[in-house]
């Protein structure tokens, strides 16, 4: 609870600073634009957070996002209908998650290592299957896909056929996904298992929970969300570069999850927290650019803000523990 209030406070401060920095920054157009980016970050934050709750970590998220984006484009270039391509790409995510999950549960390999290897493998795969892809290229080669592709872009990204943002579809998508995931986390038996596994695997095992299966399921959900993130990235970009698309995203996702109250020790985190945590970075980035700071200070500002946030959070938590 205190954790949620913490990020909420941070968000309010950031938004206040943003709106006050520049009238353009506070315009509803700009806020909608920021919200949409928050949505895209949020999808992968949910992915990272779920894995963190069961006591794992997924470093392959960024590469899976990149690889999925490229794959989505290549499939359509090869003549696969956009809707079918969405299905195939999500299936790719399922396969990645299954491999990660089985290696971690059946061979008892460490999540950090397995997904670190995945990070290289899927980046490599992205480069193998295609260098540069873009929606324009797809439409060039298959003009009859234009309508379907535009529909997808409108529904998932909220941009009309001219490329103008009409409504923050990705943010709405995030909210829908968060509600579904929150339902599973907080209202069903599966959620109980995930929290229990993350905190004390033995307790779950001895209670008769099929720990391996639950863990694998979570990795599958995680990678599938990452693939969805890849599809969003493709639809929202003018071009996708196989060697950079989504790179480093896993770290942003993990940061978002932690800011939102997930403990890297596992067994902790809420759906609301994940959404709020995911909202921080995009606001911060926009704020930095509106304050007229150069783009290349962004990483440092982000790092510092997060560090301060973490310290304040820890102090608050210590205090509340003493007074209990």
């Amino acid at each position: 609870m205190t954790r949620i209030l913490g990020v909420l406070g941070l968000l309010i401060v950031l938004y206040a600073l943003l709106i006050e920095s520049n009238p353009a920054a506070g315009s509803s157009r700009n806020l909608m634009y920021v919200a949409n980016i928050q949505g895209r970050y949020g999808v992968v934050t949910l992915a990272a957070a779920l894995v963190i709750i069961v006591g794992g970590i997924d470093l392959s998220i960024g590469s899976v996002v990149g690889c999925s984006a490229v794959m989505f484009g290549v499939l359509m270039e090869e003549g696969v209908h956009p809707f079918a391509a969405v299905g195939w790409t999500l299936l790719f995510g399922v396969q990645v998650g299954l491999v990660n999950g089985l290696l971690i549960t059946k061979l008892r390999l460490q999540p950090f290592l397995v997904t670190l290897c995945g990070m290289f493998i899927y980046r490599g795969e992205a480069r193998l299957i295609g260098g540069v892809v873009s929606p324009a290229q797809v439409i060039d080669e298959h003009p009859h896909f234009e309508h379907s592709l535009n529909t997808l872009t409108y529904l998932l990204i909220g941009k009309n056929e001219k490329g103008a943002l009409v409504f923050p579809a990705m943010f709405i998508l995030l909210l829908v996904l968060a509600v579904v995931i929150g339902f599973f986390l907080h209202r069903t038996a599966y959620g109980r298992y995930w929290y229990a596994i993350g905190h004390n695997e033995l307790a779950a095992k001895y209670a008769g929970v099929n720990v391996d299966r639950q863990r694998t399921i979570v990795y599958v959900i995680c990678s599938m969300l990452a693939s969805l993130g890849g599809i969003l990235l493709f639809l929202d970009s003018s071009t996708i570069q196989a060697d950079s698309a989504g790179a480093g995203l896993e770290l942003y996702a993990i940061l978002g999850a932690v800011l939102g109250g997930c403990s890297l020790r596992g067994g902790e985190g809420t759906a609301i927290g994940m959404v709020l945590g995911a909202m921080v970075l995009p606001v911060l980035e926009t704020l930095v650019s509106f304050r007229g700071l150069k783009n290349n200070v962004i990483p440092a500002v982000i790092g510092l803000t997060l560090l301060v946030g973490t310290i304040v959070d820890e102090l608050i938590r210590r205090r509340s523990r003493v007074h209990r």
């Binding site: 209202r187 038996a189 109980r192 298992y193 905190h199 033995l202 209670a207 008769g208 902790e268």
Partner: protein
């Protein structure tokens, strides 16, 4: 000599294990053990640390697979591959080490793995139904219904243990296995557990009960099965269950002088450690004053949660001291961290060995050397010879059952882990030795050795401060007793005034008579 292995007669047989065998790397934990359990019977399984009790129970409950042997449940041969299978077949195990998901609420834990749900495959939690059942289960073990919504981590150890019992009650049990269920319970909670056991028995539940407290075994067991070195060492029918019979089977010899007072003079010398009006963060508001003298064993009694551990932690530098002072040999001592305490010669053997006492994944040898590395070190790294000597010495002196000093501590049986914690600190020649529940989970043979060791240390002038909830141990070992009640020191007893009644009276908040 009592008759060997009396047969179960009359009642029908619930569980039969024949020839169970289990080989761990380097350790043959079970070498053909057989037990029989009748319907509605309580069979106590006793034996020294590492005798194989927990391993046998884990095989029955589907945690381990046996290498050989057969299990029959109500006449049907069974072989459980997972704990889940065993639970569904009606075999539940309450583990020696607590196994709760502490981040979840009590209710969540009570129903973990068999939640009451609606919505088919969606498995939506039926919270109302679960909290109703939860309060009923909790009342059966004597916990207030309000605990149902508490996060488990906020409960004291005794209550956690009762939650585990309540959880087992909620399952349709045919065989309930309790591995040292009372080791963290207070007297009152233990009584409550006995009542639960009696009630279960009358409904036909069969119980396997492991304990190192022989008085307790005498109270609850219908029959006793003694294990030694992974084999059946004998069985005792109800009428033959006596302390001496059990000990004879367990250790294969008679134990004399269980509570030795050989090396001590009986009265302490000069005060070594004194606390004056001590206050500490997170502690009670009443300051505590007491002293521990050289060459004596000061026993500290009180109910679980009376604040004894907290007080010892304050003096050991774990808790921040906010008022008063600590004197060591009459001189003020500032303790800001355990490092300061250790440097001054104050050592603490903690209550929770898994949490504070051992680096579990590391070897026995690693753990034994850890506090003494400064003395083992030379310019060329740790002196291998001296280190090996230290390992050999303490493994032998405490009779730690381990294939070698390279065995990971996590793989030792509970009691043997405790012995390693001892060896680790005793190797340092302390000035003040604080022992928090020194023999919890330790078998009689090892207990006798630990007592002898403590006596010897006190005889050498070490000031021993022993926190214990075991009344027998307190009366048997302590020269002087300080009783705590709800955070403050309720009184001091020694000599004539030191009786069980007096201790209980002070511990429960009564006046001294």
């Amino acid at each position: 000599m009592p008759p060997l292995r009396p047969q179960v007669t009359g009642a029908s047989i619930r569980l039969q294990v024949t020839g169970a065998r289990k080989q761990f790397p380097g350790v043959l934990a079970l070498d053909g053990v057989s037990i029989t359990l009748a319907v509605g019977e309580v069979l106590a399984v006793v034996g020294e640390n590492g005798a194989g009790k927990s391993t046998l129970m884990k095989i029955v409950a589907g945690v381990y697979d046996s290498d050989a042997g057969e299990i029959q449940l109500d006449g049907q041969p069974v072989r459980f591959k997972t704990p889940g299978e065993a639970i569904r077949a009606g075999v539940s195990l309450i583990h020696q080490e607590l196994n709760l998901a502490e981040n979840l609420t009590v209710t969540d834990n009570l129903f973990l793995g068999r939640e009451l749900t609606t919505g088919g495959g969606l498995r939506i939690l039926n919270r109302r139904e679960m909290s109703a059942r939860a309060s009923e289960l909790l009342s059966r073990v004597g916990l207030p219904a309000s605990r149902a919504f508490a996060r488990v981590e906020t409960l004291p150890p005794g209550e956690k243990q009762l939650v585990e019992v309540a959880r087992a009650l909620g399952m349709d049990v045919r065989v309930l296995i309790m591995d040292e269920p009372t080791s963290s319970l207070t007297q009152k909670e233990t009584e409550r557990l006995y009542e639960v056991i009696d009630a279960l028995k009358s409904t036909g539940v069969s119980i396997l009960y492991i304990s190192h407290r022989l008085a307790e075994v005498k109270r609850v067991a219908d029959r006793v099965c003694v294990l030694r070195d992974g084999r059946n060492a004998g069985e005792l029918a109800k009428a033959d269950i006596t302390h001496d019979n059990m000990v004879r089977f367990m250790v294969g010899r008679d134990l004399k002088q269980f509570y030795p007072k050989v090396h001590r003079k009986g009265v302490g010398g000069a005060p070594v450690l004194s606390a004056r009006e001590l206050l500490f963060r997170g502690g009670p508001t009443t300051p505590a004053s007491f002293e521990v003298r050289s060459g004596e064993i000061l026993g500290m009694a009180g109910l679980v949660g009376a604040g004894r551990t907290e007080l010892s932690e304050a003096i050991f530098g774990v808790r921040h001291i906010t008022g008063g002072e600590i004197l060591l040999d009459g001189k003020p001592l500032r303790v800001r961290s355990p490092r300061d305490a250790i440097a001054a010669g104050i050592l603490l053997v903690p209550e929770d060995r898994r949490l504070h006492g051992l680096v579990l994944p590391e070897s026995v040898g690693f753990n034994l050397s850890l506090p003494s590395l400064d003395r083992l070190a030379s310019w060329f790294g740790v002196r291998v010879g001296a280190e090996r000597e230290l390992h050999r010495d303490w493994i032998a002196r405490l009779r730690v059952k381990t294939p070698s000093s390279a065995q990971p501590a996590a793989l030792l049986s509970g009691g043997n882990q405790q012995k390693v914690v001892y060896g680790k600190w005793l190797a340092r020649n302390p000035k003040v030795l604080i022992l928090d529940e020194p023999t919890r989970g330790v078998d009689v043979g090892a207990k006798a050795e630990i007592y002898a060791l403590i006596d010897e240390l006190a005889g050498r002038g070490v000031a021993v401060w022993m926190i214990t909830s075991d009344m027998e141990e307190l009366l048997g070992m302590a020269d002087r007793v300080v009783v705590m009640h709800e955070g403050h020191i309720a009184g001091e007893l020694s000599g004539e005034t030191l009786t069980e009644e007096a201790v209980m009276q002070l511990a429960t908040g009564g006046k001294r008579t």
